[in-house]
Amino acid sequence: MNHIPHNHACGNTEHGVSRRQMLGTLGGAVGFGSLLQPGIAAEIKKQHKQVCLIWLDGGMSQYESWHPLPESKFGGPFRSIKTSIPGVHFSELVPETAKIAHKISVIRTMETKDPNHSTGVPRIQRGDPIDRGVTYPHLGSAVAKLLGPANPNLPPYLWIKPGNGGFIAKEAGFLGAQYGTLALGDGKPPIHIHRPDGVSAEVEAARNALRLKANERFKAYRGASEIDAYETSYAMARQLMARKEIFDDSKMDPKDKERYGTHPLGRHILQARRLLEAGVRFIKVNSYHWDTHGDNFNMSQRLIPQLDRPFAALINDLEDRGMLDHTLVIVMSEFGRTPIINSRLGRDHWPDCWSIALAGCGIKRGAIIGETTKDGAFVNSEGYDIGHLFHTIFTLLGLNPRKTRYRIKGQKLAIAHDDCEPIKEVMQ
């Protein structure tokens, strides 16, 4: 009579976590105690891993980027060019990345499930775990929860995106609102990070001194943990205010701006580099309007170089700064684009066989993974679902996705799809 979903296990919601932890990532302090099994927490703390997820919303064509097949019937008009890896070619639209191909890996056999944007974006960004009737966190919130802030003075998960920003709770899923993301709309921090007009730095310092004095008196006779938690949120707010120059576009080196490009994606990837340098744990950079159902080739010619230059610059800069070994960079979308070119010279949604680029933090250098059919339409070796990628990401971040569990109200929830494995070929 009633349909019963065939879940393998189910999870309970969210609030159990927040209840016990008082403060989430937006609040400042992140406790491991109730969430992770003992032992693992200490191990994670020692490591300093960071992530930059470059999200090309709508889907980038694999044929016009990492997997050019100009000779095939689906190849399109662009040439392929040699890369720094002998025998490997990229599209001519990614000349800068072609020069540093030996520093990155490309997986050409992503084989995912969902051809719809509306469901595909969250599905992919949550790693498509087994349905347990709960809403899983997006990758950034998951990492914020599992690893905490890399720099205790900065929020662990920032999202740089065109348009509006603000505190966005919904990415956190069952982890609870405090593991949401602080979104920098067009790269700008929330307005409340700024000292109000008419309040000088001196006055600001003086009135905070008054506040601290009042707090000291109040706390002296009391022991409740709420008191510490509340004070911590202010301490963190002040630290962020003090570091607001890391959000300031005008403080960027003009040479860097030139190298990364002046379009939004270039500026935002440059800003991501600066925030990684400042110690932010996870940064997502969004670029929109990659959904090239019509006029795919002109659009690709305009869009893909906007990724190519700053991505290559980011990899080079991270390497120069000694950060590439602990910083994972991921370039991906919710799916690739169809081999068949439609009547509007566009390519449609294609989850069956598409490409992503990865670098750093234990990703092999110069590995091109996966065999496709000759025309690139289908996987001809092992296909990788998003669950495999999440296993790979978590493993590279020092977690064991087979053992690490979200623990909510005594229940253990897998952090990635139970039936997937890390993609060993792409890992050092």
Binding site: N2, N12, G27, P190, L210, L240
Partner: protein
């Protein structure tokens, strides 16, 4: 004469209040498990602010605090409690609290917020009974005066209703038991979930073709519900059954005999067997210990800041009450007093356990929160905070009167937070919305424990509304302060208005010193001093 005496003796016995008062018995059981010294009684300021916040949702004014402090009547606390419980402000505040607890800020179904609030407030102004409220919500049809109660059942989604009834009225978070027995709570079975479900799975919305209103109706239950654990191969079946109760047999009627009333005006026929109506009756029965315990625990939490069983939705033997004997007593008494919410709130408020100071007992560094040795500081709810900020800064009168003009463009809230919208909201409704966006949890999330946050701190620190309210204008606090001469009178007015207490000697000195150093910017300096109290922990917590 003899008759009168006879009545005087018997009446209390008959009406049940001859029995020992509850509050001292609460205290006895709390002290028995304290495991150490307890804090002293709260001083009058501490008590006054706390009880005003808990019973009316508002901090007291400076004038009210002064007169309470000066009142020398020994029974002034009890009198105050009675006065506050009888006030309209009690109904307003407890409407906020119960509404947030039961709807979790979700806007579902056809009943407007205003209708729902009016329904709750009407109850709370009279003699609110927890069992009757629950019965009206769970059994709601949309007919009659209790029509707004149907908001609780939202969109009549069968699973959402099952989970909400279990969690909010039985303290059982049964979400996991949808697909299998609960993995860690042994006594929560999948059969519990589906037993409740089969009381609710005939319920749906239907619209009356005449009055165009939507009602909750029940279809004809023909058979039991079958369910299957994802870990098992065989199916199980259940009819309507409450946790701990007996399964209700589903009666079979001859074709055409199922209905008590035939279909009319677009509404389906009313079946003779209406399981949801039975649920509303049996769920809320005084014999349903799950229901009674949950009711006691939630009201205790609202007053004391922590459930005797905590988390509130984990009422099971593996998560026992911190005070089992007290829980038993409260359950017994709550039933004996017909689930009278006001009676229970009053008894808690009268107890020494409630009236303790939040300051640690002498020589004690740390206490376990489950022992109630001090008053547990509660975070102000978003509603309390907004009112408190406005009242403390003396801007309540004019700000709450701000009305949206009809042709006002829709205010860009997101832009307000990101800096693309430089306007200041011009209606109280918008101001309230900005506060809720910042301080409330997202819809559908319970608000139980205190979750501070970076954005919440930043808002009080730097928001331009707050800065504006700390400038002298329209008779607000800062304007009043600019007219006072001595640092002592300034400090007193400020501390009474904002923290409901008189300043200590060194706090007066701090004020004097700061004003002295900033004598060229006196009004601004007063704003700084007030800002520091507004952002202080003492202000944010109901301690």
């Amino acid at each position: 004469m003899r008759r009168i005496i006879f009545i005087c003796i018997l009446l209390p016995v008959l009406s049940g209040w001859a029995a020992e008062r509850l509050s001292p018995r609460i205290d006895k059981l709390i002290v028995a498990k304290a495991g150490g010294s307890v804090a002293t009684r709260s001083d009058d300021s501490e008590f006054f602010r706390r009880v005003k916040l808990d019973l009316t949702g508002r901090i007291p004014s400076a004038t009210d605090t002064r007169s309470f402090l000066q009142d020398t009547t020994s029974s002034k606390r009890a009198k105050l409690i009675d006065r506050l419980i009888a006030s309209d402000a009690f109904a307003t505040h407890w409407t906020d609290r119960l509404s947030v607890m039961l709807l979790e800020r979700q806007k579902l179904g056809k009943i407007t917020d205003e209708e729902w609030r009016e329904f709750l407030a009407k109850n709370l102004k009279g003699k609110p009974r927890w069992d009757v409220l629950a019965q009206e919500m769970v059994g709601a049809t949309g007919q009659g005066d209790e029509r707004p109660a149907m908001k609780f059942l939202g969109t009549a989604d069968h699973h959402a209703m099952t989970e909400d009834v279990a969690r909010l009225f039985l303290g059982m978070d049964l979400k996991c038991a949808k697909c299998h027995d609960h993995p860690s709570v042994n006594e929560w079975k999948q059969a519990h979930y589906w037993g409740l479900f089969s009381y609710l799975n005939q319920t749906k919305h239907a619209t009356n073709s005449k009055d165009k209103q939507t009602y909750l109706v029940e279809g004809v239950a023909m058979k039991k519900v079958d369910f299957q654990s994802v870990f098992k191969t065989e199916k199980e079946i259940t009819g309507p059954r409450l946790p701990g109760g007996k399964e209700v047999a589903i009666p079979m009627f001859a074709k055409g005999q199922e209905f008590e009333k035939p279909a009319a005006d677009g509404l389906p026929g009313v079946p003779k067997f209406r399981p949801r109506e039975l649920l509303a009756r049996d769920l809320t029965s005084k014999n349903n210990t799950y229901f009674v315990r949950n009711g006691v625990n939630r009201i205790w939490y609202l007053m004391m800041g922590r459930g005797l069983v905590h988390p509130l939705d984990e009422l099971h033997t593996q998560n026992p009450s911190s005070h089992p004997k007290l829980m038993e007593l409260l359950m017994r008494e709550f039933v004996a007093h017909e689930f009278d919410v006001k009676w229970f709130v009053r008894e808690i408020a009268l107890s020494e356990s409630y009236q303790r100071s939040s300051r640690l007992p002498n020589g004690v560094k740390k206490i376990e929160v489950t022992r109630y040795r001090t008053a547990h500081p509660k975070a102000m709810t978003p509603e309390q905070l907004l009112k408190a900020v406005l009242k403390a800064t003396g801007n309540e009168a004019w700000v709450t009167k701000l009305k949206a003009t009809d042709n006002a463009e829709k205010f860009d809230r997101r832009g307000y937070f990101t800096g693309t919208n430089h306007e200041v909201p011009t209606s109280f409704e918008e101001i309230r919305a900005l506060f809720m966006l910042t301080y409330a949890e997202p819809a559908g999330t319970p608000e139980v424990d205190f979750i501070p946050g970076l954005n919440k701190a930043l808002f009080l620190m730097n928001d331009r509304l707050i800065q504006d309210w700390l400038k002298p204008q329209k008779g607000n606090l800062i304007e009043r302060l600019t007219k006072l001469e001595t640092p002592k009178s300034i400090a007193e007015e400020m501390y009474l208005s904002m923290l409901a207490r008189l300043p200590e000697v060194d706090e007066v000195a701090t004020v004097a010193n700061y004003l002295e150093r900033n004598n060229k910017r006196r009004a601004a300096a007063l704003g700084d001093l007030a800002w520091a109290l507004l952002t202080s922990t003492e202000f944010r917590l109901n301690h």
